[in-house]
C-alpha cells in the first residue's frame, strides 16, 4: 500500500469523524415510519372496501360491454396494448404539470394470464392490479388489489391517487408508442418500453437505474468520460458500445446494443475540463437499428 492510500484512509476517517449525526435523527425516522404505517392501514382499508363493494354488487370482477360512442374517434386498437409495458413521461392536472413523488414514475403493464387479461401498475410503492376490459376508448377495471407494504406517506398518497384515477374509467389513446390516459382534469402520458429476457429495462435492474454519473465533466478524453460516466447492469454488461463523433468534434453519441436491441444511447459534449454527458436515454426503442 502506498502513501496516498494511507493518507486517503486517514483523511476520510478524520473528515467523517468531524461530523456527528443530528440528535433528532431517530425521532425523524420513527415519525416518518409511523406516518407510513398509518397510511398503509388506510390503503388496505381502501382496497378492502373496493373488494367489498364489488362483491356486494354481485360481481366478482367487472366485465363491461363495449362503449362505442362516448367521444371522438379512437386512436389505436385495444390489441395494441397487450403484453406491453409503459412508463410515465408526463402527468398534468388541469393542464399544469403534476409532480410525482421523488424517484418514482408510473409503470403500467397490460398482461394476459390463463386467458384472462389484466393490468398492473406501480408508482414506487405498492404493485397494484386488476382485471381489465379495454374498450375502444376506455379502460374498465374490475376488482383492484395489490401488495400492502408500508411506504413513505407521500408514496401511499400517490398509490391512492392512482387507484382513484384507474377506478374512474380513464379514456385512452395510443399513437406512436405513446399511451395517453385522461380522466377529468388528469392526464397521464406514458411511453412504451422495451423488455428483454423478462428484464424490465426501466425497473430496478434496468439500465437507467445504473446511470448515475452527473453532467459534470467525467473525463478529459472522450473514451475516459464514457467509461466513467455510464454503467450497464450485469445482465447486459456485454452490450456492444459504438462511439460516433460529430464532424466538428464537439459532440459524440454512444450507442449500446445488446442482443440486437439498442438498450441505451448517451450523448456527450465537449465542455471545459473535458467531456460530459449532455443527454441520455435507455432502452430506447426508437434508437437507430432497434
Amino acid at each position: 500500500m502506498d502513501d496516498l492510500e494511507e493518507r486517503l484512509r486517514d483523511d476520510l476517517r478524520r473528515s467523517a469523524s468531524r461530523e456527528e449525526p443530528s440528535v433528532d435523527a431517530w425521532d425523524r425516522i420513527t415519525e416518518r415510519v409511523q406516518r407510513g404505517e398509518r397510511r398503509s392501514t388506510a390503503s388496505r382499508a381502501l382496497v378492502g372496501a373496493l373488494v367489498l363493494a364489488i362483491t356486494a354488487g354481485g360481481l366478482f370482477w367487472l366485465w363491461r360491454g363495449f362503449v362505442a360512442t362516448d367521444g371522438g374517434p379512437p386512436t389505436g386498437q385495444p390489441e395494441d396494448l397487450w403484453g406491453r409495458t409503459f412508463v410515465s413521461t408526463r402527468v398534468t392536472e388541469e393542464g399544469e404539470p403534476h409532480t410525482l413523488v421523488e424517484d418514482t414514475r408510473i409503470e403500467l403493464t397490460f398482461f394476459e394470464e390463463r386467458g384472462e387479461r389484466g393490468v398492473g401498475w406501480s408508482a414506487g410503492c405498492n404493485t397494484i392490479g386488476a382485471k381489465i376490459e379495454v374498450t375502444t376508448e376506455r379502460l374498465l377495471l374490475g376488482e383492484i388489489g395489490g401488495t400492502q407494504q408500508a411506504c413513505a406517506p407521500e408514496s401511499q398518497d400517490q398509490d391512492e391517487w392512482l387507484v382513484d384515477f384507474f377506478r374512474s374509467e380513464p379514456r385512452w389513446e395510443f399513437h406512436d408508442d405513446t399511451l395517453t390516459l385522461t380522466s377529468g382534469d388528469t392526464m397521464i402520458e406514458l411511453s412504451a418500453i422495451t423488455s428483454w429476457n423478462g428484464l424490465d429495462c426501466l425497473g430496478d435492474e434496468g439500465a437507467v437505474e445504473v446511470i448515475y454519473e452527473s453532467f459534470e465533466p467525467a473525463g478529459a478524453e472522450l473514451s475516459e468520460a464514457v467509461e466513467a460516466a455510464f454503467q450497464l447492469p450485469p445482465a447486459v454488461a456485454d452490450a456492444q458500445q459504438t462511439i460516433t463523433r460529430a464532424p466538428d468534434g464537439e459532440t459524440a453519441e454512444v450507442l449500446y446494443r445488446f442482443e440486437e436491441r439498442s438498450v441505451a444511447r448517451v450523448s456527450f459534449a465537449r465542455v471545459e475540463g473535458g467531456w460530459a454527458i449532455s443527454d441520455y436515454r435507455a432502452c430506447d426503442s426508437a434508437a437507430p437499428g432497434s
Partner: protein, 167 residues
C-alpha cells in the same frame, strides 16, 4: 430462538437496534459520498424509513451491508436526479474553511479532491478506503464488475496524485 438470533427485526425494537448500531456510520458514509451534511442526513434517514419493514427479515450480519448498499443507491439516485435537473452544485462541507490554519490544512486534505471525482470513482474510493471493502465487496455494492472497480479506483488514485502535485 433467542432474540439475538432473530436478527434486527421484531418491529420497532429491531429498527431501534439497527439505528443504534448503524446510523452514525451510515450517516458518515453518506457524508463522504455527498459532501453535504444535510443531504447526508436526509439520505441516511431515507434509507432507514425505506428499510424499516425489510429490517425485520434481515439477520445482524446482513443488516450493515444491506443498509450500505441502500445508501449508495439512494445517493446515486439523488445524484442522477440532480444531474438531470442541472442544479448548481451543493455547497460542500469539505470545502469550508474558518482560519488561515484551516486553509493550510485544507490544502493537505484529500476529501475535497475525492468529492471532485466522477461519482463512480468517488464511490469506489469511499467504499474501498473508508468502508474498507474488498474489490469484490465494492463491486457487489455498486453492481459492477471487479474489473470496473479496479480500473475506476486506479483512475481515481491517479487523479488524486495529479491534484496533489498540482495543488
Amino acid at each position: 430462538m433467542v432474540v439475538s438470533e432473530l436478527g434486527v427485526g421484531s418491529g420497532r425494537e429491531g429498527l431501534r437496534r439497527a439505528f443504534e448500531e448503524h446510523y452514525a456510520r451510515l450517516f458518515r458514509l453518506c457524508l463522504l459520498l455527498a459532501g453535504h451534511r444535510e443531504l447526508a442526513e436526509d439520505i441516511a434517514q431515507d434509507v432507514f424509513v425505506r428499510a424499516a419493514a425489510r429490517l425485520e427479515t434481515l439477520t445482524p450480519p446482513e443488516t450493515g451491508p444491506y443498509l450500505r448498499k441502500a445508501a449508495v443507491n439512494v445517493w446515486r439516485n439523488r445524484l442522477r436526479r440532480r444531474a438531470l435537473e442541472r442544479r448548481t452544485p451543493w455547497r460542500s462541507v469539505a470545502s469550508t474553511t474558518e482560519s488561515p490554519e484551516a486553509v493550510v490544512e485544507e490544502r493537505e486534505r484529500l476529501w475535497p479532491a475525492v468529492l471532485r471525482l466522477p461519482a463512480r470513482q468517488r464511490a469506489c474510493v469511499v467504499l474501498r478506503y473508508y468502508e474498507d471493502l474488498s474489490e469484490q465487496e465494492t463491486a457487489r455494492v455498486l453492481g459492477c464488475s471487479v474489473g470496473t472497480v479496479k480500473s475506476q479506483t486506479s483512475r481515481a488514485l491517479a487523479r488524486l496524485r495529479e491534484r496533489m502535485h498540482h495543488g
